[in-house]
């Protein structure tokens, strides 16, 4: 079961290139967390339901628990570590903080990556649309109310910026 030949993988994560040899069965989530020590990406269910492991894979949100590391060969990945730092939170991170859109923080990295993707692609014109966009990420602490408010503030900022010539 483990007598497999390691496969070389090259990925760019948060702008930095990494090269490693991995077992073909190594999950991308485990690769990020264990091999690259990027433990901001969390694993909540390992079957693609909870969304805690969501990352951006070539710009699209993807479940890193349902992806093998070898599938990401040559890809550009963004994880929560790429959105900002403790001293300089990114705008979405700041909106989550301002609206108290996180409690335990375990689902938060996946939530942030999903919202990053959704803000780029969808109008999110109503709260119903925002809730639909969030529906692939389970949060057990917040009851979603403050997350919706944080995303709403981001949508408003985005739309205002687009209107400004």
């Amino acid at each position: 079961m483990t007598d497999t030949v390691p496969v070389p993988v090259t990925v760019t994560v948060n702008g930095r290139e990494y090269r490693a040899e991995v077992e073909p069965r190594l999950l991308l989530a485990d690769f990020l967390r264990e091999t690259l020590d990027l433990t901001g990406t969390h694993v909540g269910c390992e079957h693609g339901i909870c969304g805690a492991c969501t990352i951006l894979l070539n710009g699209d949100s993807a479940r890193s628990c349902l992806t093998f590391a070898v599938q990401a060969d040559g890809a550009e990945i963004t994880t929560v570590e790429g959105l900002g730092s403790e001293d300089a939170l990114g705008p979405l991170q700041q909106a989550f903080r301002d609206h108290h859109a996180l409690q335990c923080g375990f689902c938060t990295p996946g939530m942030l990556m999903t919202v990053t993707d959704m803000l780029q692609k969808y109008p999110l014109a109503t709260d119903d649309e925002i809730r639909e966009a969030l529906s692939g990420n389970i949060c057990r602490c917040t009851g979603y109310e403050h997350i919706v408010r944080a995303v709403r503030s981001m949508v408003e900022a985005r739309d205002a910026a687009e209107e400004t010539p």
Partner: protein
């Protein structure tokens, strides 16, 4: 500008402000440290082979193939662990209670599907899991007890040979003249209520990292617990290791909701193996393991009946509760915690003089039940508030009105409830009245009439409850348990660098208590919030503490923090009186400064610390001998605890094609005393209601007749996503502040306590033209379809 140039010293108030959480920057950037993130040099990984049989004798275990697998280091069975760990069980002084031993790995028998049987230790988690498949376990099946009523039956096979029966606990309550109450009734209502089994589903599944340091002979356990102190104290007995050499740390923990308030087998096994192999070991639960092994919730059948007078007055209530508590009596809470709480809280916030109830906690071949957000109270409110609505319908009274007539009035506090609990003054009536106003109750009723005329199933729900929070030493959290849950400890220390540290026995699972406790301590001490370091979830921080559960951390932790900060402030004032040459009563502290009121004579607390600790000569020896240091440890015991009350109101609509219930509006009005941080308080209510919506509409652990778990993934066990949860309004009503230090009441569980009843009432209201009363939840589309079809068939 030095402080001395500034006459505008202030003593800001932090309690009551929506201060941004200090936890957030790290948690938002991947900088948190959860147990699964921990790595140690030479660390090994544990995987558990769990029972796929609900009840069986273990005839043999053949681990030879697993041991021969490359990368496998060791294999442990129940017999091996029994050599490494002393046996334990959850004892209680409660009458008619039988404790069960809880084997860390199944020994001789398995008693539920998901019970850990063998631990494989390997160089990687992947290899450890590979080797699980190579274990050969020979089971001889035993009769399976799935239905608690068959478990109760005369001659039923016993789950534990050393016990008298499968009834782990039995208790009765009685007050007044119940039969006389029923004899006078204008109407009665009754039902067999079923509150099915749920499971907490923290998004972070449980995990443990154990390591043994040979040099200091210290065992250290990082785990996802809410109760590091309780875990440490029990592990000390299990392994015969004194407390100072046994450290339990709960770092960032990804949600708890009560599911992480028990001592778990995996924690014991990890410690045993780390000490045995003298290597760090790690276990991280996968979701299937979590759904089958983390303490389940609720699971009660309640036969209950209410008698009311024509004016709606409750004349009597009786209830008979059967709690299905699973295979063992959970540590430390015992099998009593959930079902006994159902009968203790069933009379709720209402004036009920005549009450009789019986409860039996029954063992079955299922996962243990334990504490889950609300503990017992969600079902007691479900039963009581369903009965009230059913009775109201019979006498033609509005649901809000029948509550107004029966809620304990402001002038009746303290009120001793029929089960013996005492309610201190809390805004029972004001919460109901405010909820009514906020949701626009009368207008909503008119809208409902219009919707009904169109044939839509639209319903309005009301539920009111009271809960005991911040419970002190007078009342044990679970009856008769030999653990002190009534006190908490805080040490506040200013060291020789002038830095302030406040250390607590409570732990955080995301409630924001690093922030709220910093607010409380900073205000009481007179320093900036950001200047207070908060230490939580580490048994080396204070000599005794139990943790965070039962809506207690803000009340007990906040109380202990206030007392300790006040004691340190007194020391500061004594030193400042000398250094600033002023009378102590003229000294004030604030923002990290200490000054003589109305003057420019001031210094920083940092400079004061330097004067006391380092600059010999500035503070006289007598004063230094007397004060010792700028440090104080205080233990806070609220003794009785305090009452938190709330009313919930909601609007639901049932889709006539899918039978799915959509909660469209939701209002929570609660009295949680003095609010420390309004934004955080709102978040607690939102999260609690969302879990209550899950309980009411979606979540159910289902076993088949063989005790197999049919809901072992998040595809089958469905928790609410953002589309199932409505926008919510939360309003805080402050009645007379309670007698707790700081005036805080607990609020963590409330949302989950009120929501199932509120939503079940709304659904029943929506379907009242069909004569349907909801008595079983979750009210899934399938259950509603069956009820509606049966009603239509007449």
């Amino acid at each position: 500008m030095s402080p001395a140039d500034d006459l505008n010293f202030t003593r800001p108030q932090f309690v009551g402000a929506s201060v941004a959480r200090r936890e957030d920057p790290r948690l938002l950037t991947g900088g948190g440290l959860y147990v699964a993130d921990i790595k140690r040099h030479g660390m090994l990984y544990i995987a558990f082979r769990r029972s796929d049989m609900a009840h069986a004798e273990i005839r043999s275990i053949d681990a030879s193939a697993a041991l021969a697998h490359p990368g496998v280091v060791a294999v442990y069975t129940g017999e091996d662990i029994a050599q490494l760990a002393n046996p334990y069980r959850a004892t209680s002084r409660m009458k008619n209670y039988q404790a069960t031993f809880i084997p860390p790995l199944a020994h001789k028998k398995v008693r539920y599907v998901g019970e850990a049987v063998v631990a494989v230790v390997a160089e990687s988690r992947y290899v450890a899991e590979d080797a699980l498949a190579l274990l050969e376990i020979d089971y001889a099946p035993l009769p399976v007890l799935v239905d608690p009523e068959s478990s109760l039956a005369e001659g039923a096979p016993k789950l534990h040979d050393d016990l008298e029966s499968n009834i782990l606990a039995e208790r009765e309550f009685a007050r007044g003249e119940v039969d006389a109450g029923f004899a006078k009734a204008a109407a009665t209502a009754s039902g067999r209520f079923h509150f099915t089994r749920t499971t907490p589903v923290t998004i972070e599944a449980r995990a443990a990292v154990a390591e043994y340091d040979r040099r200091t002979r210290t065992l250290e356990l990082h785990c996802t617990t809410q109760i590091p102190g309780i875990v440490r104290d029990k592990l000390s007995e299990i392994f015969d290791i004194p407390g100072p050499r046994l450290r339990v740390i709960a770092p960032d923990v990804g949600g708890g909701f009560g599911g992480k308030t028990s001592l778990y087998s995996e924690e014991i096994v990890a410690c045993a193996i780390a000490r045995d192999l003298q290597r760090p070991v790690k276990w991280v639960s996968d979701r299937m393991e979590d759904l089958m092994s983390t303490g389940h919730a609720f699971d009660e059948i309640v036969d209950a009946e209410i008698a009311v007078a024509e004016d709606g007055e409750i004349l009597a209530v009786k209830a008979d509760v059967i709690g299905d508590v699973g295979a063992y009596s959970i540590y430390p809470w015992t099998a009593t915690i959930e079902p006994v709480q159902v009968v203790s809280f069933l009379p709720g916030p209402y004036r009920i003089e005549n009450y009789a109830a019986r409860v039996r906690a029954v063992a079955t071949n299922k996962t243990l039940t334990g504490a889950y957000r609300g503990v017992g109270r969600p079902i007691s409110v479900f039963v009581m508030d369903r009965l009230l609505d059913m009775a109201a319908r019979k006498i033609g009274m509005d649901p809000a009105e029948i509550r107004r007539r029966n809620l304990v009035n402001d002038d009746e506090f303290p009120y001793k409830a029929a089960s013996g609990l005492v309610w201190d003054r809390s805004a029972f009536q004001a919460c109901l009245a405010t909820a009514r106003e906020k949701i626009g109750y009368d207008a909503l009723r008119a809208e409902q009439e219009a919707a009904r005329a169109e044939g839509r199933w639209v319903g309005i729900g009301v539920a009111s409850y009271a809960e005991l929070t911040g419970v002190g030493s007078r009342i044990a959290v679970a009856p008769g348990m030999p653990i002190n849950t009534g006190t908490e400890t805080c040490n506040v220390a200013i060291d020789s660098t002038g830095a302030v540290t406040a250390s607590f026995g409570v732990a955080s699972q995301g409630q924001g208590i690093e922030t709220t406790l910093a607010q409380v301590v900073a205000e009481a001490l007179g320093v900036k919030i950001e200047d207070v370091d908060i230490v939580l979830g580490d048994t080396s921080a204070v000599s005794h503490g139990t943790g965070t559960y039962a809506s207690r951390a803000a009340v007990l932790g906040g109380g202990a923090g206030t007392l300790a900060a006040q004691a340190v402030r007194e020391k500061i004032i004594r030193v400042a009186g000398h250094l600033l040459e002023a009378a102590e009563e003229d000294i004030e502290t604030g923002d990290g400064n200490v000054w003589v009121k109305g003057t420019d004579r001031a210094m920083t607390i940092r400079d004061l610390a330097r004067a006391l600790y380092s600059d010999m000569g500035r503070v006289p020896k007598e004063m230094r001998d007397d004060l010792g240091n700028l440090e104080a440890t205080k233990v806070y015991d609220p003794f009785f605890g305090t009452t938190t009350a709330a009313s919930h109101m909601c609007l639901v609509e049932i889709d006539p094609e899918t039978y799915k219930t959509q909660v469209k509006r939701y209002v929570v009005v609660e009295d949680c005393g003095r609010v420390i941080n309004p934004l955080i308080a709102d978040g607690q209510a939102h999260g609690g209601v969302a879990q209550g919506i899950g309980v009411a509409l979606m979540e159910e652990v289902i076993h088949d007749e063989n005790g197999q778990v049919l809901t072992a993934s998040l595809v089958d066990y469905v928790v609410p996503s953002a589309v199932e949860v409505p926008s919510m309004d939360v309003i805080h009503v402050e009645a007379e502040l309670p007698n707790t230090v700081g005036g805080f009441r607990g609020l963590g569980e409330g949302g989950t306590i009120g929501a199932p009843a509120c939503i079940a009432n709304a659904i029943s209201d929506a379907l009242s033209p069909l004569g349907i009363e909801i008595t079983e939840i979750p009210a899934t589309p399938e259950r509603l379809f069956r009820l509606i079809e049966a009603a239509k068939a007449g």
